[in-house]
Every structure is written in C-alpha cells, then in structure tokens.
C-alpha cells in the first residue's frame, strides 16, 4: 500500500441471501483509491458496483475481505470511535434525487442531519451558518432551507444531497451514479460542482457509474466490473486508448456518442462470458502495462494485445 492511498479494498466479498439461495454481489474485489483522485467503478446494473460503495460506508454486509480507510480497518466489527470518524471522513451521494431525500423533513434538517448526529456545532447560529454555507457551495439559495424537498427539481435535489454530504467536511465521497437520474441540462451542473469541490477541497471520489462517457470526463482511474468481479483497471485515458478485456471493449463500443458522424460508422462489439476457457489456466489479475490491470490468463492476454 503506497503512502498516498486513502482507501484500500482487499478481496472484498459481499453475499446476499435470497430465500435459501446465496447470491454473490461482489466477489474478491481489490483496489486502492489515492488521495485526491477520482476512482471510477463502471458496470451494468447488477454488477455489484453499488454494493461496493455501500460496503465502504458499512451499509452493506461484508462477508469476506476487508476495507481500510487511511490504514485503519473499517469493515467488520470496529470500535464506535472509528465508526464515528468514518461517518465524518466518508460520505455518500445517491443516485435518485427523488428517493434520497426525506420528503417529510425540511431542507434545513436534511442538510444538518449529520451535524446533529455528532453535535458538530456550538450553537444554533453556527448550525445555521454551516447549513447556509453548504447550500451556497452547491449553488443554492440559503432561503431554501425552510422548504420541503418536493418543491425542488431533480438537479436541485441532487445538489441538496451533495450539501448534506459536504456539511460533514468529508475527505472521501462515494458517488453512486449521481447524475444518471438527472436531466441532460442538469448533469453538467453537478459534474462541474463535483470537479470544483475536488479542486477546492482536495476531495477524493469513488465514482460509481454505468455511463462510460461521463466517467471518462471526470475520472483519473477506472475499474470495469462485471458480475461482481473487476475485469480491468487502468488510468482513464489508457483504458479508452487500449482496452484489453473483451467486456471493456464491448462496453466501450456500446455507449452511443452524441455525434452522428461517429455513430454512423461505429460497430457494437458483443461480449459473451462463455468465451473464456479457464479450465487449464485460471484467470489471474495481471498487470499488462504499468498501472493497467486485467483479469485473464496469459494466453488470453496475448490474444487481447493483438486485437
């Protein structure tokens, strides 16, 4: 683990019980997140990407492996003190701005919920000031504090959700598809906001998404996840320039580009997981290029490199 890592996830496994059957949402996932970077996890619905985000925040059960924040273990049983520290240092932004705000509470309460939980203010005036500052920071008017979530549009609600996380002054933000439920014209607001906060506050992001085009714009490194396993991990530009794993290629080829000229010639590459034959030589986590990892065996890798 290098000194710059803020978060490290090692061999993480998350299982859910559905009836009597066990369902593995996340299998043997490892990665590190460096301070000040945007680390993205990309995958389709049901790939386990959301579960990883939730496991970091201790709201999904970890069945194997461990998660460390600044070197301290935050998965499994941990002392209350460390849990408290975790809640302040790591915060989350949610996908659906319509579902992630308590409809029966005023914005004032929603934004200051974390402050109340940990008594992070001297007096009422300071709490108000903190709420006001958080709202301003996300481009909303302080007078919105006395209103209910229902009165706001999706983009505004999403920014309220960000204000709620910011008020805790976190170091790491887990953003779970924060823009996929937003209207196109609103997305840029939120992306700019996240990028500005990263610059101004030195925030680190774990950015969870299914849309590669957005991910490319904001990420430093990207992990591609398929059915609970990370299949490829590389720097953002490296991944787009030299995708190795066939699933990554399929994903890249499938995302429509808003340019009719490109679209008219683009070919979609299908991916069939049955193509892997790991009976003789099992898949390993290989560093194919510097800082560019892929899940496969040597034979496959040679093949992928040629393609």
């Amino acid at each position: 683990m290098s000194g710059g890592d803020i978060l490290s996830v090692k061999n993480l496994c998350v299982d859910y019980a559905v009836g009597r059957k066990k369902f593995s949402a996340v299998r043997d996932v490892s990665f590190e997140v460096r301070r000040g970077e945007t680390f993205s996890i990309v995958g389709e619905s049901g790939s386990g990407k959301t579960t990883i985000g939730r496991a970091i925040l201790r709201v999904a059960p970890v069945t194997g492996g461990e998660i460390r924040l600044l070197g301290e273990r935050i998965s499994g049983k941990i002392p209350a003190e460390r849990e408290r520290a975790l809640r302040q240092k790591v915060q989350m932004i949610f996908q659906d701005p319509m579902a992630s705000l308590n409809e029966r509470a005023k914005i004032d309460y929603i934004v200051s919920e974390g402050l109340l939980n940990f008594g992070l203010f001297k007096d009422e005036a300071e709490r108000r000031a903190k709420v006001e500052r958080a709202l301003r920071e996300v481009g909303l008017l302080p007078e919105f504090a006395s209103r209910f979530p229902h009165e706001f549009s999706g983009g505004q609600r999403q920014r309220i959700g960000i204000a709620r996380a910011l008020v805790m002054e976190p170091e790491l933000l887990v953003a779970d598809e924060p823009i996929s439920a937003l209207d196109v014209s609103i997305r840029a607001q939120v992306i700019n906001l996240l990028n500005r906060l990263k610059k101004d506050r030195g925030l680190t992001y774990v950015f969870i998404a299914h849309d590669l085009s957005v991910v490319r714009f904001i990420s430093d490194r990207i992990a591609v996840i398929y059915r609970g396993r990370i299949v490829e991990l590389a720097g953002a530009e490296e991944l787009f320039a030299k995708p190795l794993h066939p699933y990554t290629r399929a994903l890249l080829s499938a995302v429509p580009v808003p340019d009719p000229e490109i679209e008219s010639v683009r070919q979609v590459v299908p991916y069939d997981p049955a193509m892997h034959d790991y009976s003789r030589s099992p898949a390993r986590w290989i560093e194919a290029e510097k800082e560019h990892f892929v899940l496969g065996n040597d034979e496959e890798l040679a093949l992928w490199r040629k393609a």
């Binding site: 999706g154 983009g155 500005r196 085009s213 714009f217 580009v257 009719p260 000229e261 679209e263 683009r266």
Partner: protein
C-alpha cells in the same frame, strides 16, 4: 437565412406522414391548468426516424401520447391539429375512431419493459392479441404470425417463448417482446417513448439496432422520444428539440448537431461531457425548467440563458427557416439581432461540419 414563416413547412422533400401543427395540450390538476404542450409543431415522414429530444417535463411524451389519443383523463388538446392520413386526429372524439389507428397504423413502445407487459398473460398471447385484432387472423394463423414476429425481433426459440410469462424474460428480451407486439401489424408509424432508458448500455445498443432494422424492413416512420443525445445520434435522421412544451429547433440530424441555432440546443450539446474537454469546466445550464402552471412570457429559456436578449423576455420568438430542412425558434435569427457567439463546443462542432462530407443546410 429566410424570415419568419407562417406555416410550419419543414422542407419539401417528402410529404408528412404524421404532422402536429401548433398543438397545445393542457392538463387540469386540482383546479390549476398545466400547459404541457404549448403550440408545438413537428412532422414525421414515411421511412424516417425523427428523434424528439427534451428533458423531463418538456412535453415530449405528452405530445407522443396525443398522437394515439392516449392522454390521461384530465388532459385535453386545446388547439392545433394532428394530421395523419388526411384526417385531423385532434378532432377525434370517439374511441371508435382511435381504434382504427391504434396498434394498426400507429403503434407505440413504452419506456419500461418490466411493466409494459401484463404479468398474468403469456407473452405470446399478448402479441397475438393485436395480431388477431388488426389483421383479422384466426387463432392458428395469428399464432403463426406471432411466432414469425418473435423470430424477427431476435427472440430465439419462439415456440417455447410464446408460452412463457413476462417474468421469465430478461429486461432486453421483454423489450423485444414489446416491440414484437407493436410491430406485429406492420404499423406505418412507430412511436418509441424512451425505449432503452431502463436498459443496460450493451442491451440498449441491440435494441436500437433492432428498431433501426425493423424500420428499414417495414418502411415505418419512427418517432423516437429520448433525452439521450447519444441515442439520437445513433438512430435519428432528423431531430426535433423540445423545451417547455414547444419544438424550438427541428432539422436533419447533422444540422442540429453540427449547426444548432437555438441557445437551448447549444447549451444541451455543450453541456455533454463527451464533447467537453477534460480538466475544463463543462458548459452548464443554470437553474431549472420553468413551471408550466404559469403563463410564460417571451422565450421560456430566457431566464436560464446568459446570452438572452431583452426581447426574449418580452415576446415569444417566431420560427425561422435556417435551411429548407432546418427551422429554429429564436430571436437570434432575426435580422435585427446582434451576432451572438455560441459556446466553444458548438464552434468545434461546426468546424466538424465544414471538414466533413458536407450536409444540406450549411452556414451561409
């Protein structure tokens, strides 16, 4: 660049198959009126795909539903007309009139394939329902027609799938089944209301390809409603951009992407991260769309438009023809308007047009 036009005449290439003229639709909600569509005009020609782009609340879905007479009970067409097959659908009052069209000549695909199928009926039965109804086939013949359609939309083992229930299908397969039910009668117009929004990207690509190939084979006019400009670039021949219940720009896909004229279209394109430069601020649109409960004075986008003119707050802009196939509703095209610079992204896109193989409506 020509002046304001009275009639919406989007090019003379082919006669319109389905056309909305100055259509206004409102809903009554607890004593208030929501003006969902405010004088929108667009036209769809045979064999083409017209993408209607807009964000939620722009009225694009309402517009589409009105073409099938399927507005919610509290909604009504206030004015304007919907022309199809020599008739004005906006004048239709009886269910019987609509029954001659729905599913037979105009069909529709919905957003969420998980809920569009009746969970208690077999998939085959639900497709057969419309095949039997419109094509007058008996049980056996309609069953064969369904099997053929299932095969055509890429569902393997049609015989077995026919008897299965929707919950036994994956999301992508369900959407294929929905498409099969919609095209079973070879409609002239297929309306797709965000058909891939609920699907994964890899599945989305397949469904888009399917719709395109069906359109080619059947020669349908496809009205494709979406908010995703990537999808538009992939499927559309022409694009209509909607904002606050109006069509503010309509043109060939190359015209709208590479030479947009309305500030809202600029903003929409410029705000896309795919077109942005990494490390720089994205162009972003401030604020939120206007409430359609209120009367809107002037250009609905003006309060969010840093490039707005004073006149935008006073008077609604007329529609200007940019080219025979390209129309835009903005005061910037008025001869009196000053020259207003588009965002950098748009300039880059324009450069692309100049370098590219050349579209129809280039810059003057």
């Amino acid at each position: 660049m020509s002046g304001a036009t009275k009639a919406p005449a989007p090019g003379a290439a082919a006669p319109a198959l389905l056309e909305a003229r100055d259509l206004s639709i409102s809903f009554s909600l607890r004593g208030r009126r929501l003006n969902a569509v405010r004088g929108a005009s667009l036209s769809l020609r045979a064999g083409e795909t017209l993408a209607v782009v807009g964000e939620s609340g722009s009225g694009k879905s309402v517009l589409a539903k009105s073409f099938l007479g399927m507005l919610d009970k509290n909604g009504r067409v206030d004015s304007g007309s919907i022309l199809f097959g020599g008739e004005d659908l906006a004048r239709y009052t009886k269910e019987r009139q609509w029954l001659a069209l729905r599913g037979k000549r105009i069909a529709m695909i919905f957003q969420d394939p998980m809920t569009a199928l009746n969970p208690l009926k077999t998939v085959g039965e639900q497709i057969r329902e419309s095949a039997a109804l419109h094509r007058g086939l008996d049980r056996k013949a309609s069953r064969l027609a369904v099997l053929e359609t299932l095969d055509r939309v890429g569902i393997s083992d049609p015989e077995g799938r026919y008897r299965q229930y929707p919950h036994e299908f994956s999301g992508g397969m369900r959407q294929r089944a929905v498409i099969a039910a919609a095209v079973a009668c070879r409609p002239e117009v297929l309306i797709c209301d965000e058909p891939t929004t609920a699907l994964d990207v890899t599945v989305q690509a397949q469904i888009l390809d399917l719709i395109k190939s069906l359109q080619r084979d059947f020669g349908m006019g496809v009205l494709f409603i979406t908010h995703d400009l990537g999808v538009v670039a992939k499927v559309a021949d022409r694009v209509a951009v909607m904002y606050a219940g109006q069509v503010i720009e309509e043109g060939l896909v190359r015209e709208v992407f590479y030479d947009p004229r309305c500030p809202y279209t600029w903003a929409l394109l410029a705000s896309l991260p795919q077109l942005g430069v990494k490390g720089e601020e994205l162009y972003s649109i401030k604020g939120t769309p206007p409430s359609l409960f209120k009367q809107i004075k002037g250009d609905a986008f003006a309060p969010r438009n840093p490039r707005a003119l004073l006149v935008d707050y006073e008077e609604e802009p007329p529609v200007f023809d940019v080219s025979p196939t390209h129309r835009a509703k903005t005061w910037l095209l008025d001869p009196r308007a000053p020259r207003v610079e588009a965002p950098d992204t748009i300039e880059r896109l324009r450069a692309r047009l100049a370098a590219g193989s050349g579209g129809t409506g280039g810059r003057p």
